[in-house]
Point group: C2
Chain length 411, copies 2
Amino acid sequence: MIAQMAQAGRAAQRILARMDDPAKARALHAAAAALREDEATILAANALDVAAGEARGLTGAMLDRLRLDSSRLTGIADAVDAVAELPDPVGQIIDSTTRPNGMKLQRIRIPVGLIGIIYESRPNVTADAAVLCVRSGNAALLRGGSEAVHSNRAIHAALVRGLAAAGVPKAAVQLLPDQDRALVGAMLAAAGEVDMIVPRGGKSLVARVQADARVPVLAHLDGICHSYVHSSADPDMAVELAHNAKLRRTGICGAMETLLLDAAFPASHRVVADLLDAGCELRGDARAQALDPRILPASAEDWDTEYLDAILSVAVVDGLDEALEHIARHSSGHTDAIVSDDDAVRERFLAEVDSAIVMANASSQFADGGEFGLGAEIGIATGRLHARGPVALEGLTTYKWQVRGSGQARP
Amino acid sequence: MIAQMAQAGRAAQRILARMDDPAKARALHAAAAALREDEATILAANALDVAAGEARGLTGAMLDRLRLDSSRLTGIADAVDAVAELPDPVGQIIDSTTRPNGMKLQRIRIPVGLIGIIYESRPNVTADAAVLCVRSGNAALLRGGSEAVHSNRAIHAALVRGLAAAGVPKAAVQLLPDQDRALVGAMLAAAGEVDMIVPRGGKSLVARVQADARVPVLAHLDGICHSYVHSSADPDMAVELAHNAKLRRTGICGAMETLLLDAAFPASHRVVADLLDAGCELRGDARAQALDPRILPASAEDWDTEYLDAILSVAVVDGLDEALEHIARHSSGHTDAIVSDDDAVRERFLAEVDSAIVMANASSQFADGGEFGLGAEIGIATGRLHARGPVALEGLTTYKWQVRGSGQARP
C-alpha cells in the first residue's frame, strides 16, 4: 500500500514540480479558502475527536492540543495564506560558472520529492506541513495521530479540494489511513520511494522514527540548550537573558536547560536569585549551590536532561574553555548561547561551539523559523547533513546541476 | 573498537576545525612531501601487495589498479599539493540577515565531522580521500581493500607523519586495521559517531554499504546515463557527442548507456553507423533496429543496465515527452543529456529531467568534479539530500547558524 501511495505521490510531484511560483501560490490560497468554507464540517469532525479523547481519558493538555474552534481554524487558514506569500525557492540559482571550454554550469534548487510527515495530536500540522511541502514543489504523505483522525481527514479533504481546484493533483497530499499501524513502519522503510521523513512530536516519536527509518530523517531529538555567562557579561543583560531563555516558555525546544556561570562573573547570585524568585527549580553543582541556599544538588543525569519545565541545571565553570568543554560533552546540538561583553570571547564561542544554532547576547528562545525570518518552519534539525537549525522552504529543496554546452565533447 | 577510533577521530576533528586555511594548506603540503620522502618504503610495501595479488590470481586489470611506481606515486603527491591549493570552504558565509530587532544572523560553513571512507583496491584513494577530508576540516576513518593493505599502511604512515609535523593530530586520519572484517559493519552502524560514509568502488560495494548503513551515505550506485537526440539536433554534433559520450571511456560512471533517437531526427542512421563502425555493440528496440542491420535486439533488462563497456542500448522515441518518460522510468539519476538546436526544447529537458546532472549539447562524460571546476571530487552522489552530482570540498561541509545580538530577549 505504501508503494502504491508513494508511486501516486511521486507522479503527482512531477506535475507539481512543473508548476510555477504563481500557480503554486494560487493553489495554496485556494486551499486556505477551502479550509474556511469547511469550517462547520471540520469543527464537527473535531468535536468527535474531542469527545473520543475525553472518553479515553486524555489529559487536559492533550485535549487542548486537539481542540479546534473557529478562531484556531482561522489561524490555520491564515497560516496557509502566509505560506502562499513566501518566496518560492524552486528554480533559484545557487551558483553559476562558465568553464574554459565554454560550458555554462548552474546549480538550481529543485524539490526534494516525496516527503513523509509523522505527527501527533495537533491537527493543525495536517495543514502546516502539507502546504510547506506543496509551496516547495514536494508531495506529502501525512500520518497524523489517532486521537485526531476525524479532524485530520476533514482538514485534508478541504486542503485537497482547494489545491485540486487550482490544478494540483490530489495525490500531492495524501493522508495515510489511520487503521493500519504497519503503514508507518513501511513508510520508514521506503528508501528510494519516500525521499525524506519529518517527525513532528515528542521525543519518543522522534526516537522511534530515527531508530527505524531507512529514509533520511530531518528532526531533533533533544533541545538541551546551554547559556554561558562569561565574566565580562553585563549583569542586567545576564539576568534578563537567563530569565527569558528559561522561563518565557519552558516547554519549547529552544528553552535553556543548563546555565553555565563563570566563576569570575560577579553577579551570578543575582541571576540565580531572579530565577528562584520566579519559581524556577535550580539544580546545581557544589559551587553553584554555594550561590543560594535554595539551589538543590544536581545529579549526573541532570546535565543531560531536557526538562521542558521550570527546572534548570546550573554549573559554575572556570572560564571559556571549561564552558566549551561542558557544552561539547552535554549539548544536544540544538542551540547554545553566550552572554559576554568581550568580543574575542564571543567570537571564539560562536566559532567553536558545534551546534546547529550558536548565539551571542540573545535568548535561546529565538531558535525558531519565524523569529529567523523564514516565515514558517517544518521543524528544527540537529542532524549534520542537508539542513540544520530552523528548516523552512529551502530545507525542503535540493539542487541539480544544469550544464549548457554548444557541442563540447570531452577531450 | 570503532567507538574508540570514532572518539579519537572526533577529538582530533575538533582541533582540526579550529585550524585556519593556511595552517591546513601547510599540513597538506607537508603530507605531500612525506609521500615523496617515503617513496622507497611505499613502493616496497606495494610490491608485497602486488606479489600477493599475483599469487592469489588477481586479474591483470586488478593488478594494474593496485600497482604503484615512481610516476604514479608522484601523481598522488601532486594531487595532495593540488588539494592544498583549493579554496577552503570552512568559514564561508552562506547568507546573512539582520532581523528587525537588530539580531544579526549568518549561516557559515563548517566541517561535517568524522567521515568514513570505504574503498577497494586503488591505494591512491588512501591519500585522495584523506586530504579532501582534512582540507575541509573533517577527520577520516579509512577502510581500504585487503589487496592493498601494505600499500595503504605505508601511504597512511607518510600522510600522518607529514600532517602531524604541521600540527594536525594523528587521529585526524585513521586507517582501520585490516584483520577485522566486523569493523566495517560497526562503522556503518555507528550513527552519531560517524557523520557520513563515502563508499568508493564498484557497484557491489556501494550496494552493500547502502543496504547496511545507519549513517548517511554519499554515493551513486549506477550511472545509467541517457543522451536524447532531438529532431532539431545538428547532425554532426549528434554524431560527435554520441560517440564521445559512449566511447571516450566506456568504464566511467558518466558514460552514456542508452541513446534515445527522436523518430523525426533525420540523421539517426549516421549516429548509429558511427558507433557501430567504431566497434560498439548496439542493442535496439524494433524501430532502432530498422536503422541498421547490425543492431541487435534489446531485452527489457537492457534499458536498466549499466554496461560500462562498448555496448549501448538504443531506442527510437516520438518527441520530447516520450524521451522524458523513458528517462524518468530508467535513469539512475546520475547524468542525462539532450542534443538539440531548439532552445525551448532544451530548457524543458533541463527543467524536467530530475537527475543530479542534466546537460544540453555536451557529452555526459563531462560529469566529473575536475571538469566542473571543483578541483577534485570525493565522488558523485545521486541521493537527493545534502550534495548531488560531483562532490568536492563544499559537499564535505555543512553549516551552522550564528546569531549575534545585543541583549535581545524574545517577547
